[in-house]
Amino acid sequence: MSKQADLSVEFLGFKMKNPFMLSSSPVSNSAEMVGRAFDAGWGGVAYKTVVSDRIPIIHPSPRMAAYRPAGKRQLGVQNVEQTSDRGLKANLLDIMYLKKRWPDHLVMASIMGFSNQEWADLAKACVDAGADMLEVNVSCPHMTVEGSGAKVGQCQELVQKFTETVRNSCKIPIVAKMTPNITDITVPAMYAKKGGADGIAAINSVAGLSGIGADDWVPSPNVFGKGAACGFTGPAIKPIGLRCISELAKCHDLQLPLSGIGGIETWVDALEYLLVGATTIQVTTGIIHYGQGIVENMIEGLSDYMTIKGVKSLKELIGKALPNVHATHDFDLARQGIARYDLDRCVGCGQCYVVCRDAGGWALDWDAKKRRPALDEKKCLSCMVCSFACPVDGLITFKEMPKSYRRAETVTLGKELETQRRS
């Protein structure tokens, strides 16, 4: 099994050799970087957001901080990265160069205007430079230019208005990039559609504070004594990204092609985004953590998966999980199960006992001599917290119980107090 599966995909009329794109970020800052990424295997780029030269962009310093809870590494990045701080001309020349040199690769130019007219001007300029499509950036959560970025994305009328301006300025496809820092992501997406967007990209970074200095009390990144709620990205935000894409995909009135973003580092992450409805995949933090080379494993892993599963075209996978994404009130509550223990493999750490007692149903007894847990099936809540703590892979699994199974009620310690009160 060595032949590569067909990973090609069509996004807004552009046929890509694979769905993997650099997202608009430091990883797509110049043609030099993007070109190397194309050679490494990436199928396209959302080129780093270009702006007019009217308001110079100066980056806070330092720009980023690593999120390292309890020393764990590469879970997320906190950043105040702005739009491109290069001149407009330099960016347009780079876009032109990319399209000349790699005509088969998707170059989507991300743009951000600081006035209505700027949106129009930038759109026209990028079209002239040869961009295949535009990404309307209304979602950066930490712009230093007041009233831009996510501030626009959180105001539906502006989303519609600027999208409309871009729509009226060019004929190429427009993708609107959404902020997750909002109650319902489908609302601004619908406004973008009304404004003429052909596709939706989501999510931009999640506004967050990922660390506060214990000594100086300054949030990180510490910009000379000041911190700010700013964009948080990486594997830690993937659940939010997947949720948003699934909501956009399930939105009955929207029905636009989607570009999935948020915490994608492996082919499995990418597959999950495809399964909930994304057509293309955009990556930044994965590259910040490991370099552009991660695309090789995305390609090989996804290709092998498709071959093993007998999937002929990537299209077959897009949205495949959506019928299984329900509202919680749809669950069949008549079916119940418990945790199952394969104690032959138990190493006797007792973590299951600790968490079951402190966070579960108090369903475990502890045999101190044998150093083994003993499960009272009647008490097990099937919360599964024991399996999260267990260090042995697959030792604790979920099993369904017969219909006759009845869970015991949690013990009430205050029973006697009731009689006392009566008397």
Binding site: M1, S2, E265, T266, W267, V268, Y290, G293, I294, N297, M298, E300, G301, D304, Y305, I308, P391, V392, D393
Partner: protein, 449 residues
């Protein structure tokens, strides 16, 4: 085959998925990774560990198996602390990544999930004969089959695997493991004919005459080197091959009977000697002495092998040169005659040379001696070809870049060329020869066009 007694049955368990992922998590994902330059067989740990890190397990297995069809076996048996792991940058922080164990996990994971990246290439007309089904023979056969050649492997013994099956004790390496690794070769269509020794005068040339376009010789070194002694011992002295091989053939009872409760001396300081010592202990020998003429650090065995044997209860008798045996009237072994040595200047091997101390002769009473001091090509190997150039000790001389012998279209590799060496070196020899064979016939085809 009779079931192995318990002490011989348990090969060490490998990593499970969680352990492998946790270990891979320690990998620094080095740029221009040094581990991938540390293997004589071209193994690329940097790539397969990275693939594991990014959940591309099929790709990781492909990286291992495309390079080395015995990737699982090598993961377990390679002296990795001397090779890839020696180069590991993580040692600069703490300790090297356990590359061998990750490699073995990935191959076993592929077996558990039914993934096999090996595929036969589009068929070519040339047929190639491979003599010997050890690591060199198998890797040459597989490489050629991948390129579409029809390959027949001739194996002298009853089953395939060479040193992997008949040389390593089953507690270190189970026969099931090599069976499973051989099963991966099935899609390649390599024909392995067992109990088909290629022996006798001109045997090599007659293979060519039979229509094989090329021959790869990899019969290994199975003739044990022996101690030069005066005593005529009728009973009690084994060569290592007469000890370890029968055990791998399942003859535990017959061999065990001769060792149980006895005093045993193992002569030698290499991996095979450690295997003999540990096996003797497992068979119930009362005392097992390892007799070695230099000191601990000069022993060629791997550190963990030495430690394992010591933990099992082996007595270490260093700086003693065996000079002769003594027997009772019936010729049964009674004692080994030793002379103490001291180390002088380094010899050609780079290790300090043992020099006998005059007047320090002594006798160690023993019932059994097992000589594990090396191996050489089969005695009749000089007859196999009329004109093949051989070196000292009847090893076959080859062009190191191609594995080609002095006889046209005949290649050789593995222990028959280098003398006893690492499995991964044999794997490389097999691949080197296969590539040379492919190149040779690629040229020929082009010439016709």
């Amino acid at each position: 085959m009779p079931k192995a007694p318990a002490p011989f049955a348990s090969m060490k368990k490998g990593f499970d998925y969680g352990q492998a992922v946790a270990e891979a998590q320690r990998c620094l994902l080095c740029h221009d990774a040094p581990c991938s330059k540390g293997c004589p067989g071209g193994t690329d740990p940097a790539t397969f560990i990275r693939k594991l890190r990014f959940q591309n397990l099929t790709g990781a297995v492909r990286t291992i198996k495309q390079n080395n069809i015995l990737g699982g076996s090598c993961g377990e048996l390679c002296p990795t602390p001397q090779l890839c792991e020696k180069e590991c940058s993580a040692a600069g922080l703490d300790r090297p990544i356990q590359i061998g164990k990750i490699q073995r996990f990935l191959v076993e994971h592929a077996w558990a999930t039914g993934f096999n990246p090996l595929e036969k290439g589009s068929a070519r007309k040339e047929k190639i004969a491979v003599v010997g089904s050890g690591p060199a023979g198998l890797s040459c056969a597989a490489e050629l089959a991948k390129a579409g050649f029809g390959v027949t492997v001739f194996e002298a013994r009853a089953r395939a695997g060479g040193v992997l099956r008949y040389g390593v004790p089953s507690y270190r390496f189970s026969p099931d493991f090599i069976d499973r690794e051989l099963k991966d070769l099935a899609p390649l269509g390599v024909k392995i004919q067992c109990s088909k020794p290629i022996r006798g005068k001109g045997a090599v040339e007659s293979l060519l005459k039979k229509g094989f376009a090329a021959v790869f010789l990899a019969p290994g070194c199975w003739e044990p080197l022996r101690l030069k002694v005066k005593a005529k011992v009728r009973q009690g002295v084994f060569a290592w091959t007469d000890f370890l091989t029968p055990l791998k053939e399942g003859r535990f009872a017959a061999i065990g009977k001769q060792l149980k409760g006895r005093r045993v001396a193992i002569i030698g300081g290499g991996s095979v000697a450690m295997d003999c010592a540990e096996s003797a202990i497992k068979l119930g020998a009362k005392d097992v002495y390892l007799v070695y003429r230099r000191s601990y650090n000069e022993m060629p065995a791997e550190e963990d092998e030495k430690q394992d044997a010591l933990r099992q209860g082996m007595h270490l008798l260093l700086l003693n040169q065996p000079v002769d045996y003594s027997t009772d009237a019936k010729g049964r072994l009674k004692a080994i005659r030793l002379v103490r040595t001291e180390l002088s200047k380094p010899d050609a091997s780079g290790r300090r040379k043992p020099v006998e101390i005059p007047g320090s002769n002594w006798e160690l009473p023993i019932d059994v001696a097992i000589e594990a001091i090396g191996a050489q090509p089969a005695r009749d190997s000089i007859e196999w070809s009329r004109s093949m150039k051989l070196s000292d000790g009847n090893l076959i001389t080859v062009n190191p870049d191609t594995g080609e012998t002095s006889v046209k279209r005949v290649f050789a590799g593995g222990d028959i060329v280098r003398g006893p060496a690492l499995i991964i070196e044999a794997v490389r020899d097999g691949k080197t020869a296969a590539q040379a064979i492919m190149k040779r016939f690629a040229k020929k085809e082009n010439a016709h066009e």
